[in-house]
Every structure is written in C-alpha cells, then in structure tokens.
C-alpha cells in the first residue's frame, strides 16, 4: 500500500485485476479487430452484472446482510426506464434519475421493515418483497405483463448514442469503474467501518453509540440505487424488460456471482461476473467436446460446482488470487 499503486501489480491479485480491467477497457476494439462482435455482448453482460453484484456486495459483503431479493432493484430500474419510454419520455436525463430515486425509495421502505428482522427472517423477508415486485410487474397488463415490454433505448441527445454498441459498452464500463471506485471509498470510510463492525458484533457497535439500524438502512438504500443502475443498463442493453429479470433465481445468481468472486472483496463482483459468464459461455462447448450433446446440460456440472464452492471455497476467486505462493 505504501509503495505506490504499481506495487499492487506484484501480487497475482493485482496483476489479474489490472489485466482484466485492461482487457475490458479495450474490449470493443478487440472484438472488432478479431471480428468476434458477439463477444462484445458477453462482455457487456459481464460489466453490467458486475455493477449489480457490486451493489449486492455493499450489503452482503460489508454489512453481512444476506439480501435474497436484490434482483428486484434491477427490475425497478429496468421497469422505470421501460414504463417512461412507453409513455413517451425517452430522455435519459429524466429516466435514469427517476429510476434511481424510485429504487432508493423502495429500498428505504423495505429496508426499514426488513432490517427489524434477523438472520434467516431477513433472507426470507427480502425474498418476499422481491416476489411482491415480481408479481406486481407481471400483473402490469398495460406494460406487457408476463410477456415483458419492448423499449427504445434512453436518449442523451448530443452526448452519447446508446444504440452504438461500442459507445454503450464504454458507458457501462465507465459506470462499473465509478461503482467500484465508490465501493472502495465506501469500504474505507467511517461509514464502511461501522457497517463491518456491526457485521462482526452488532451489540458492541450499538454500545459504542452507533445507530446501527440507520447505518444499515442507508447502506441498503445505496445498494438499491446501484442495483437500479444495473437494471437501467440491462433494459437498455436488451431494449427489453420482463418480470423474469426479478425472478428469485436471478437474485440467487447475483449471490452466486458475489460469493464466486469473493464476499466483501472490492473486485470480487468483477471476478465473479467474469467467472459466471465464462462458465455459461464456455462450459457447454467444453462438455460437447467430451461427448456430443452433453453441453446442453452444463448446469448438471455447474450446480455441484456451486455446492463445492459453498462447502470448501468461502473466499472465492479473490482469496485464490491472494495466495502468496499460488
């Protein structure tokens, strides 16, 4: 830490992170040069889901709160964009702040209710609220209901054209960098230390005079805002939004990404997202190589892999990279 930022490059973790960020930064150029444009959309998904996972990491990683309904914020962000666009408001200057504000308001409301509970009740109540939003959205007959909603991309006239794939990707990447920067500021702030202190001993923090509930609520609301940001980007990426984005399985996926990358690690969400989508992209063809037709059933391998990770590899990829003689 004291020897300047470049010293981080000497650890495997720093090196891998730097390489990953560098590759992601120039990805549109690479995919263009090698004519693998399809990989750009994979990269885009990685970047967006890394933002979503980073937002979950704020409460799961730093505060130790297992929120099992995080996909709801993605859905809120996406639907805010979708509904506004269906109503004729296509300006991103309007859509994006509204989406984030709605998500923050919702996060504050359900946070205030959920944070009264502990442990498994917290898992279940966050899940229940997410299901609530899920069913609400599938009941929105005017906006597609179960079938979802086709939307036109947000417009930022004169600034950026989101229909340009590379420009959109770079915007997402810049937002990911901003999110990670914010996370690192958060983690090393007094606020972050209070959250982490409360994770290991809530009573002690309360005895020290910190209003733990209020700190957690603010963290929950911030995480909701970044979740909505990811949702906004997803809606723009696919030009489509449907309730499926908030099914509880997606919330599970987000937890998987965070745990896979390393809980509470700054770059964990990024590693996790890369690993998650790499598995999704490359495991099927790999299995097909072993035996034709097996690739279709890649989750038979992926499922037990998760079990093994849960049982034996708590620190995720981050701690794997942190091993000194690895």
């Amino acid at each position: 830490m004291t020897a300047g930022p470049l010293s981080a490059l000497r650890t495997p973790r720093g090196l891998v992170t730097a390489v990953a960020l560098l590759v992601l930064a120039v990805l549109p150029l690479l995919t263009h040069a090698f004519d693998q444009r399809y990989l750009l959309s994979v990269g885009n998904r990685i970047v967006i889901w890394a933002i979503a996972a980073a937002s979950l990491n704020m409460i799961l990683g730093y505060a130790g709160l297992v929120s099992f309904g995080h996909a709801a914020f993605l859905g809120i962000g996406g639907y805010a964009v979708g509904i506004l666009s269906a109503e004729g408001f296509e300006s991103g200057w309007l859509q994006w702040p509204v989406a984030v504000l709605v998500a923050v308001a919702w996060a504050a409301l359900i946070g205030a209710l959920s944070l009264r509970t502990r442990g498994v009740y917290f898992i279940m109540i966050t899940l229940a609220f997410a299901q609530l939003v899920y069913y609400l959205s599938s009941g929105l007959a005017a906006y597609g209901g179960d079938d979802g909603l086709n939307i036109s991309r947000s417009r930022f006239p004169g600034l950026i054209d989101l229909r340009d794939k590379a420009a959109f990707y770079w915007l997402c990447f810049a937002l990911l960098c901003a999110t990670l920067w914010f996370c690192s500021r958060l983690a090393h702030s007094r606020f972050g230390y209070v959250l982490r202190g409360a994770r290991s001993n809530e009573l002690r923090m309360a005895a020290l005079g910190f209003p733990v509930f209020r700190y957690r609520l603010v963290a929950f609301a911030i995480a909701g805002a970044f979740g909505a940001l990811a949702g906004i980007l997803l809606a723009n990426d696919g030009a489509y939004i449907s309730p499926a984005i908030m099914s509880w399985v997606k919330s599970g996926d987000l937890i998987v990404i965070v745990v896979l990358g390393g809980i509470g690690a700054l770059f964990g969400p990024l590693y996790g997202a890369i690993a998650f989508f790499a598995v999704e992209e490359f495991l099927p063809p790999l299995l097909d190589l072993l035996h034709r037709g097996w690739g279709e059933y890649w989750q038979i391998v992926f499922g037990p892999l998760l079990v093994v990770i849960a049982l034996y590899a708590r620190g995720g990829i981050d701690s794997l990279l942190g091993l000194r003689h690895g």
């Binding site: 799961l60 297992v66 099992f68 359900i110 209710l113 009264r116 509970t117 502990r118 442990g119 498994v120 009740y121 898992i123 279940m124 109540i125 899940l127 229940a128 609220f129 299901q131 609530l132 069913y135 609400l136 599938s138 009941g139 007959a141 005017a142 209901g145 509880w248 399985v249 599970g252 937890i255 998987v256 745990v259 809980i263 059933y297 890649w298 989750q299 038979i300 992926f302 499922g303 037990p304 892999l305 998760l306 079990v307 990770i309 849960a310 049982l311 708590r314």
Partner: protein, 297 residues
Amino acid sequence: MLNGVQLGLLMFLLAAGLTLTFGIMDLVNLAHGSLYMMGAYFAWTLIGLTDSFMLGTLLALPACFLLGVIVEIVVARRLYARDHLDQVLATFGLILFFNELVRAIWGPEGRSIAVPAFLNRTVNVLPGVPYPAYRFALIVAGVAVAILLAWLVARTRLGMLIRAGASNRRMIAALGVNIELLFSLVFGLGAVFAGLAGLMAAPIASVKIGMGDDILIVAFVIIVIGGIGSIKGAFVAAMVVGQIDIVGRAFLPDLLKTFMGAASASAAAPAISQVLIYVVMAAVLVWRPTGLFGQRG
C-alpha cells in the same frame, strides 16, 4: 372455500417437510422444491411402469426417501454448522443440478398424471354440495400428515431427539444417540413429505421442470409467517395463504371489473393475490418479527 383449504393443505404438505429441515434442523434448504419435483417425476415414471396410480405413488415415496437420504449424506450434512449464506448457495446449486438432471432424463416437455379412475368423480361433502373426490382425498391426506407430524415431533421419543439434536447436536451425540443417522432419517422424511406434495399436486397441476421452485418460496413464506420450527404455525399459515390465494383468484376479478376492463382485471387478479401473500408476510413480520407462533429469534 374448500379449494382454499385444499390448496392450503397441499402447501402444508410441502411446508411440513420444510419445517423438518428448515424449521427444526435450521437448514435453509432451497432444494426442497426440487424434491417436490422429483416426487412428481418418480410418481409419473412408476405409475407408467406399474400401470397403477396407487402402486406408483406408494413406490414413489420410498424413492423420495432414498433420494433425501442421499442428498443429506452427500451435501446437507456438511451444511448444518455453516451460516445461512453457504446453505443458500449450496442448495441453489442443487436446484440447478436437479432441474437439469430432470431435463436430461425426462426431457424438456412437461408430463401429466391422470386423476385415478376411482377418485375421478365427485363426492357430496355436504348434502347437495358436490366436490371432486381427488381434491377431497388431498384434504384428507393433508390433515393426516398434519396430525402424524404433530404427534411425531411433539409426542414421540424420536421427535424429542430431533428437537434436542437441533438445539444441541453435540450434547445429544454425547448421550449416545447416532445423530448423523437421525438427521439423515429426518431429512429423508422431509423429502417424503415434499415428494408426496409433488405427486399429489401432479394431477391437478402438471409435472414440469422447476415446478417446485416458485411454490417453494410460498412454502418458505408459510413457515416464516407461522414461526420457524412451529408445525402448528405452519398449518395455520398454510390455511391463511391458501384462502388468500383462492379468494384472490375467485373474487378479485369481479371486484376489479368494477373499475377496470374485464381482460386486465382477470390478468391482474392472480398477480394481486400473489402480492397479498407477501404483504401478509411482511405485516406479520413487522408485527411479530419471529412469526405467529415462533419462539426462536
């Protein structure tokens, strides 16, 4: 009304097994829905093989038990001492595994189990009130399981050991009880209840991949509303949720039609009745953070 009771009892069947593993053994078992699905698929296969509904379903139950015991030995056993996050992650992995396994073995398209001939008629519940016999059989089975389970856990030596083992494993092990075997058996029993719920639901719903995933969440909601670990709570909550769902489906469309179009009313009603379930859960938890009949925090 009766449909609500029947749905509630079906959910209770699922929640009952979950009460054993989640409520009493304190394991967040997302794979419980997979066991529900496997029960339905086992039943479908065995009914096909034996050409008899009764025989097929009766054989499916030991198959579920065996599967439950295997899952316990291979995975669940290692999770009791872990925190909830590990349990969520590992059992989420199991869901992916089972869904994909079913797709590999039985194929992607859904199956259906016909209502057996001897139950494919109506009975008069009250004089002049006909009701499908199969649904009535569901009610009977649900009540039977409720009574059996309450008796098993609260009154028998086995139930005493389960409860004691859940609160202090090492103490019970030190007393000479084979706690590992005991927990395997309980997990297997939970799997039997899940499978029973799945195969009994099969003739009125359909047998398909992921069929247990959404109803599983409702089962968790039921347990949380009722209070984790309380069978009485699970039963009451299942009844409440069953009634909400049926009332929502039966009466809400008419109510909504008074102030919106018929088409959008019938689309919105199921969604709203689903939402109501979660509103009830949130209200209960805000009012009593450990559920209606919960003692543990």
